[in-house]
């Protein structure tokens, strides 16, 4: 019990180091919660160029940016040249000189407050998928969000990214609870948990095999007892450490040793995350919640966290009243979004990690084509999705839904969002989309292959 290492000296006792030197590595991998376990395999590769992407599957990261509340797609990717657009939105429509032109002939541009997106677009780092939706659209925030999260039009199953983890883990396959574990050792190695920045993890990340990690702030992600005095902290960590090592040596795999290991990993990863977040970013981030979230994600990527999916959110986009046009509430939300994503990719570039990170940005629905009587817009249907990173096929994809051939005042979607999911799963995460989504979807070639 004596001679415990100084807990502040993280290097001296990281579990990773212990695991690396341990002959028990293979059997321990079965129950180690993997936060730290996999990090040895996924250190950042600042020297990695784009060309080597094909060889580094294990390092690929997906960042999902959720726009909550229903983003007004028509005032984001603006068909300013369409008379119908100007006609039904007299108070909130943007004119040609209020947009950042993408396609002069098509009369299409980004909202004027989104110069960050425009830069990424011009650099070939942004793909825009137009008219994304799904059949029989649901206009309830909750219901539609659940549909996007589960990739199922009933919206009642597991999260699509949770199912992705299931497909990678432990032979669970289709996510049936209690399905027989695979005998394949490599398949039994648990993937690192998904991380949501926020109080709780969204449905999208919930699967059968592991719970996603939610981190609101590095402050929250630590043992309160640590602040109750050195003696207490030292005794606690010493006890966990001793037992973790004893379990490792005996190869115990019961619930108790599983808990000991998780407690140990929590200590190590807490230090690691706090250290990562305390390190000054390589670029200046604007001051917004989304920017804070993305800066945390960038810090964790930089620190070599093995996590492959991060989830952030921004909102609220539920602009029923006075949403504004070139200026106003909606413009501010878009500006925050655009500035945050722009800073995020500058940071990743400075780290040398931009080639590893694909980001995808969606909202549960767009809004109605016509403005309402309060200078706002009500819940609608299809809207554009944005994807970022050097691995995207830049530019516009699919086609803009007609503003005159409507379904009861709403846009008719031109692309099913699950086509985008399928491509991200197959091409970026190397996971079988058919298994995860329950059926195959045609790829749009939004990603370079």
């Amino acid at each position: 019990m004596s001679n415990h290492l100084n807990p502040s000296d993280i290097k001296a006792w990281t579990r990773r180091d212990f695991l690396q030197s341990s002959a028990m590595f293979a059997s321990a991998a079965l129950t180690v919660p993997a936060f730290v376990q996999s990090s040895a395999l996924a250190l950042p590769r600042p020297m990695m160029g784009l060309s080597s992407i094909a060889g580094v599957d294990e390092d690929r990261i997906l960042v999902v940016i959720q726009l909550s509340g229903g983003n007004d797609g028509l005032n984001t990717l603006v068909p300013y040249g369409d008379d119908a657009y100007q006609r039904v939105r007299p108070r909130i429509a943007l004119s040609a000189n209020e947009v950042l032109m993408l396609n002069r002939n098509g009369g299409l541009g980004l909202h004027g407050s989104m110069s960050g997106f425009k830069e990424l677009y011009d650099e070939g780092m942004c793909a825009i998928v137009q008219g994304v939706g799904y059949p029989n659209p649901n206009r309830s925030h909750f219901a539609s969000m659940d549909i996007w999260h589960t990739a199922d039009t009933a919206g009642t199953g597991d999260g699509w990214l949770g199912k992705y983890v299931d497909s990678q883990c432990c032979g669970y396959g289709s996510g049936t609870p209690g399905a027989k574990a695979s005998t394949n050792q490599a398949q039994n190695d648990p993937p690192p948990p998904l991380i949501a920045i926020g109080k709780t993890a969204p449905l999208a990340l919930h699967g059968r095999t592991m719970m996603p990690v939610a981190i609101e702030s590095a402050d929250m992600y630590q043992w309160t007892g640590e602040k109750m005095g050195k003696d207490l902290n030292k005794a606690y960590i010493g006890s966990i450490e001793d037992r973790s090592e004893a379990d490792m040596a005996s190869g115990a795999e019961d619930n108790k040793s599983f808990l000991v290991r998780t407690a140990m990993d929590a200590q190590v990863s807490s230090k690691k995350i706090r250290k990562a977040v305390d390190a000054e970013s390589l670029v200046q981030y604007p001051n917004s919640q989304l920017a804070n979230q993305l800066s945390m994600v960038a810090s964790m990527i930089r620190a070599g966290m093995p996590t492959r999916v991060f989830y952030v959110s921004h909102g609220s986009f539920d602009t029923h009243a006075n949403q504004g046009g070139a200026q106003g509430t909606h413009a501010r939300l878009l500006q925050q979004l655009s500035e945050a994503v722009s800073a995020f990719y500058k940071d990743l570039k400075a780290q040398g990690n931009e080639g590893r990170v694909l980001s995808s940005c969606f909202s549960e629905f767009g809004r109605r084509v016509g403005q309402n009587g309060s200078g706002g817009t009500d819940h609608g249907t299809a809207a554009p999705m944005f994807l970022f990173g050097p691995m995207v096929n830049p530019g516009l994809h699919s086609r803009y839904p007609s503003l005159t051939n409507l379904d009861n005042g709403d846009l008719k979607y031109t692309v099913d969002f699950r086509q985008v999911y399928a491509e991200v799963l197959d091409e970026w995460l190397s996971a079988p989309s058919k298994e995860v989504l329950g059926r195959g979807y045609k790829h749009l070639r939004v990603l370079k292959s």
């Binding site: 019990m1 079965l30 129950t31 180690v32 919660p33 936060f35 659940d146 009642t156 199953g157 597991d158 432990c170 049936t176 609870p177 209690g178 399905a179 574990a181 039994n188 648990p190 948990p193 109080k199 449905l203 919930h206 059968r208 095999t209 592991m210 719970m211 996603p212 990690v213 981190i215 402050d219 929250m220 992600y221 309160t224 007892g225 602040k227 109750m228 005095g229 003696d231 207490l232 030292k234 005794a235 606690y236 006890s239 966990i240 001793d242 037992r243 019961d254 619930n255 108790k256 599983f258 808990l259 998780t262 407690a263 990993d265 929590a266 990863s269 807490s270 009243a321 009587g373 309060s374």
Partner: protein
């Protein structure tokens, strides 16, 4: 991280009652943890004295214990209500004439009601958690929680707090009753009908959602029906809808054609569907398996993947459940009394659910609740928000509760209950509620000659919190709590609290 245990185990297959002489403190503690939310040292000793039969009967026959009844009128039942005919006409007129002001007024009113309803939902959540903490009938609440997880319905999809409350009353009222009644009740339950879209299940355009989950998740389990059965089951449920707060059978939308579900033919409706389900052997086994996972051990749903002893015990209980006409109480009683239930493999092996952890801590350590809002939020952060299960599949339980972030929330919430300190900055904005930690040490509270050493005190605290006093744990807790203070420090309430902070942070504290 496999969600379930991977270690091979060996257990007794006997479901005969445990003998009185084999039922001591450990067994009484086990019973109280599983059939309730744990108890104080005194309560455990009482059950140990009573012996298995009397203890189990006391817990199971909870109807004899007087308890406050939360009535149907405890909450507002019309925050969310359909528009009256008159209102609907006014809205339609406004739509036709483009009267945006009137439309905006109705929209604002609807949003106000939705906000109000979300507030009431939080209130109902807190009321249930408070009830779990205070109820003299712990098994009633535990069974209600079981059925909530089994027939998982979320406010997210229902968006009517009163419907959620009514469903909770349905579960409580039938918690130990008859499975048939529960199934017949659930296909008429407004919250469930809304959640699984059965209000859209009409004869010309059947919606299979409820029919499918009824067979797959609520009664038979995958592999025990065909896709055709699902389609036919959905047809029997056409026209099952609700109006305001009540079930309504819409005869016009009901498919009156001949149907064939699970081998039963005729012009079937919801009741005959339930009878057809109960006729299946698979039904008793499926429900017993789920009860077993809830009360006994985190096992896979696949019988072939578990040890012979447990498999035999489960099959015996399932047979008894079926022969007993799906009466729930006898099978629970049998299970809680069985030798198998007290097999050493099953004691202290289960990962506590967030509710077991928090409610159990309040009930067994007698810590002040401090702020029920914080406790409710902590449960959400741990992954168990009552009335908001993640999906229709409910909570997976077992190892899926645990990861590094929930481990911190679990430990930190206990620290909050013990000390009032929250993990956010600025730290230690202390709650004034005093916690008498010294009261937990039996030898300090028994009149007589005992003069326990510090180590003895820690040992007793370890028994109360962990059910065992492992030497290494006792050593570290003693040094962590006492620091440089000498012998006798454990007589200080604050030092005892520090010891409890360490004990409840120990991985074993997550087990029951």
């Amino acid at each position: 991280m496999p969600a379930l245990e991977t270690q091979p185990v060996k257990t007794t297959d006997s479901i005969a009652a445990i003998k009185s002489e084999d039922f001591g403190y450990t067994e009484a503690r086990h019973l109280l943890l599983r059939a309730g939310f744990g108890g104080t040292d005194e309560q455990i000793r009482t059950l140990a004295r009573w012996g298995p039969e009397k203890s189990v009967d006391h817990l199971v026959n909870y109807g004899k214990i007087k308890a406050d009844e939360a009535g149907a009128d405890a909450f507002e039942n019309d925050i969310i209500r359909p528009l009256t005919n008159e209102e609907r006409q006014r809205v339609n007129r406004a739509r036709q004439t483009g009267d945006e002001d009137t439309l905006a007024m109705y929209r604002t009113e609807r949003q106000r009601r939705q906000r109000e309803d979300r507030r009431q939902m939080r209130e109902i959540q807190r009321a249930w958690i408070t009830r779990m903490i205070e109820s003299p009938r712990p098994l009633e609440e535990k069974m209600t929680l079981f059925w909530h997880g089994h027939f998982a319905t979320s406010f997210r999809g229902v968006e009517d707090s009163y419907h959620m409350y009514a469903q909770n009353r349905l579960f409580r009222g039938n918690a130990m009753g008859n499975l048939g009644n529960l199934l017949r009740g659930i296909v008429r339950d407004p919250a469930m009908l809304k959640y699984l879209n059965n209000n859209q299940n009409r004869k010309d355009s059947p919606n299979e959602n409820l029919g499918r989950e009824l067979l797959e998740l609520f009664s038979l389990g995958e592999g025990n029906y065909t896709e055709r059965d699902i389609k036919e089951a959905a047809r029997t449920l056409t026209g099952f809808t609700f109006e305001d707060n009540d079930f309504r059978f819409n005869q016009n939308q009901h498919d009156n054609g001949p149907k064939n579900v699970l081998g039963v033919q005729g012009n079937l409706d919801g009741n005959s569907l339930v009878s057809a389900i109960l006729n299946q052997q698979a039904c008793a086994l499926f429900i017993v398996l789920k009860l077993y996972r809830f009360f006994v051990r985190d096992i896979p749903m696949d019988l072939s993947a578990i040890d012979t002893g447990s498999r035999k015990a489960i099959l015996r209980l399932a047979q008894m459940f079926r022969l007993g006409n799906y009466e729930i109480k006898p099978v629970i009683r049998k299970m809680l009394l069985s030798k198998h239930f007290y097999d050493p493999t099953n004691i202290g092996s289960k990962i506590k659910s967030p509710s077991e952890l928090l409610i159990g801590s309040v009930r067994s350590l007698q810590v002040p609740v401090r702020d029920i809002g914080i406790v409710t939020e902590a449960m959400e952060l741990m992954g168990q928000s009552v009335f908001l299960p993640p999906s229709v599949k409910g909570w997976d339980g077992g190892r899926s509760w645990i990861n590094t972030s929930t481990m911190f929330v679990r430990q930190n919430t206990l620290i909050y209950l013990l000390t009032g300190a929250l993990p956010t900055r600025p730290l230690f904005l202390k709650d004034p509620a005093y916690f008498d930690a010294l009261a937990l040490v039996p030898s300090l509270n028994t009149p007589g000659d005992s003069d326990p050493s510090d180590e003895q005190i820690v040992r007793e605290l370890a028994m109360v919190t962990l059910g065992q006093a492992n030497d290494d744990v006792v050593d570290s807790v003693l040094s962590g709590a006492r620091g440089s203070q000498g012998e006798g420090a454990m007589r200080e309430n604050e030092v005892v609290v520090r010891a409890l902070v360490m004990l409840t942070s120990m991985p074993e504290y997550q087990l029951c």
